[in-house]
């Protein structure tokens, strides 16, 4: 029950025990919330710091990987060249090619590129298309060569053509 105040200048009512209790409970709740918020904020800062460290480590690892990648590719290519030139020297490759040439087909030019694999670009001249087709069949059937891509062909009195292929790894028969 609240008694009326008959003061000529009423003052703000002094808080009662229940009001003080409620304010105290609210204060405790506020402090607990603030502590929880501070804890969460600290946790967030820690998580952000850990994330930043992880990002830096990832960036560093990527940079290191990038710096290592070309070298390993170059190293790989170099190793491959060394191995290929040992296993498939030009003389051997040319001998294998010559063994596949039909009598009416002659090899006018051959470029050998030693990289990850041994790539060949051949310029051939055949008496007729049938002879050129026979050469292609022999190449396709040969275990020493693969990836045969016939290129430009010029058909006149004779047939002139360019084709690309690559030599299989290892010492093939």
């Amino acid at each position: 029950m609240s008694l009326p105040d008959f003061s000529t200048k009423p003052r703000r009512q002094r808080p009662g025990a229940a009001d003080l209790l409620l304010v105290s409970v609210a204060g405790v709740a506020l402090l607990a919330s603030a502590a929880a918020a501070f804890g969460s904020w600290s946790g967030l800062r820690r998580a952000q710091a850990a994330l930043e460290r992880t990002r830096e480590e990832l960036a560093s690892a990527r940079a290191q990987a990038r710096s290592l990648e070309p070298r390993s590719a170059a190293d790989g290519t170099l190793a491959s060249r060394i191995l290929l030139s040992r296993d498939a020297p030009p003389q051997t490759v040319m001998e294998r090619l010559a063994a596949l040439l039909p009598p009416d087909v002659r090899l006018e030019d051959a470029r050998l590129s030693y990289g990850d694999r041994l790539t060949l670009e051949l310029r051939v001249r055949a008496r007729d298309a049938a002879a050129y087709d026979l050469f292609l069949q022999r190449l396709s059937a040969s275990p020493a060569f693969a990836g045969i891509v016939p290129g430009e062909e010029a058909r006149g009195r004779e047939l002139s053509a360019v084709l690309r292929l690559w030599h299989r790894d290892g010492d093939r028969p």
Partner: protein, 280 residues
């Protein structure tokens, strides 16, 4: 003390004060003081200047403050019976109770309505209200005296309303008449089943036949509330203990309105009607 109130009440015979609290174990009086006033120093009245000898009243207030050992801050000032008009109002359905009660209490005042300070005390579950009106200039007299004595007033309440706060009976209490005794005036409040049914005020006429006259007033108050058995009577205020004994001898079930638990000193709580303010 947590939850205790410092209350100072002025009346024709004395200035009284107490530091009291009203908790689950009832009324507890932590300190109390009384400073008597000479006849005529303070005359409760709704119109005329009340403090005929302001210096004497201020000295009494200072004495009470010193005896209570308080700095005077946060004090509830209680004005005596006889300074205010207090009426029981039952607002009709559909109207705002407090506004209607203020409107009713201002009707017929012997001074301009603008000069009045009004207040409303809700009582019970049936919408009954006690509305009070007191003249601003009268309140100002008391406030000035208290401030001059070092009191910093927190609130100002009327003795009948403050006392009723501590006298409200339980709904199952049946028929009860509360008698609030001031030095110069008294109020009678008739309760039926815990609800305030009647409220009356009159000037007090102390003398050898006061108990008999009071008994008749109690019976009339109860009759106004309707036919029924004689009421139980609860008395608070100056002389309540003696009057309760006399009314009992006259055949009424009379008792002090409340008992006070005092901390280490003897105190008759019911003699201090203003202690009801500690319950509000």
């Amino acid at each position: 003390v947590f939850g205790s109130k410092r209350i100072v009440a002025l009346d024709a015979g004395a200035v009284r004060g107490a530091s009291a609290s009203w908790g689950l174990r009832g009324l507890r009086v932590h300190a109390s003081a009384r400073a008597p006033l000479g006849p005529g120093a303070l005359a409760p009245s709704p119109l005329d200047p009340n403090l005929a000898r302001p210096d004497e009243v201020r000295d009494a207030l200072r004495h009470v403050r010193a005896e209570l050992g308080i700095d005077g801050r946060g004090t509830v000032l209680v004005l005596p019976d006889g300074v205010a008009r207090v009426v029981l109002v039952r607002p009709p359905a559909g109207v705002a109770g407090p506004e209607y009660a203020r409107f009713r209490v201002l009707q017929g005042l012997p001074y301009a309505a603008d000069d009045a300070i009004t207040g409303v005390l809700p009582l019970g579950r049936q919408g009954a209200l006690l509305a009070g009106a007191v003249r601003r200039s009268v309140v100002h007299e008391y406030e000035e005296a208290a401030a001059a004595a070092g009191f910093v007033q927190e609130r100002l309440e009327l003795a009948p309303l403050a006392a009723l706060s501590g006298l409200l009976p339980d709904p199952g209490a049946g028929r009860v008449t509360a008698v609030i005794l001031g030095d110069a005036a008294l109020c009678l409040a008739g309760f039926e089943g815990g609800e305030l049914a009647t409220f009356r005020s009159r000037r007090r006429d102390p003398g050898p036949d006061e108990a008999r006259r009071l008994r008749e007033d109690v019976e009339r108050t109860a009759a106004l509330a309707g036919p029924g058995s004689p009421p139980r009577v609860k008395l608070v205020g100056s002389g309540s203990g003696a009057l309760a004994r006399e009314l009992t001898q006259l055949g009424l079930a009379a008792e002090p309105g409340w008992q006070a638990a005092a901390n280490g000193h003897v105190v008759e709580g019911a003699e201090m009607a203003f202690l009801g303010a500690a319950r509000a």
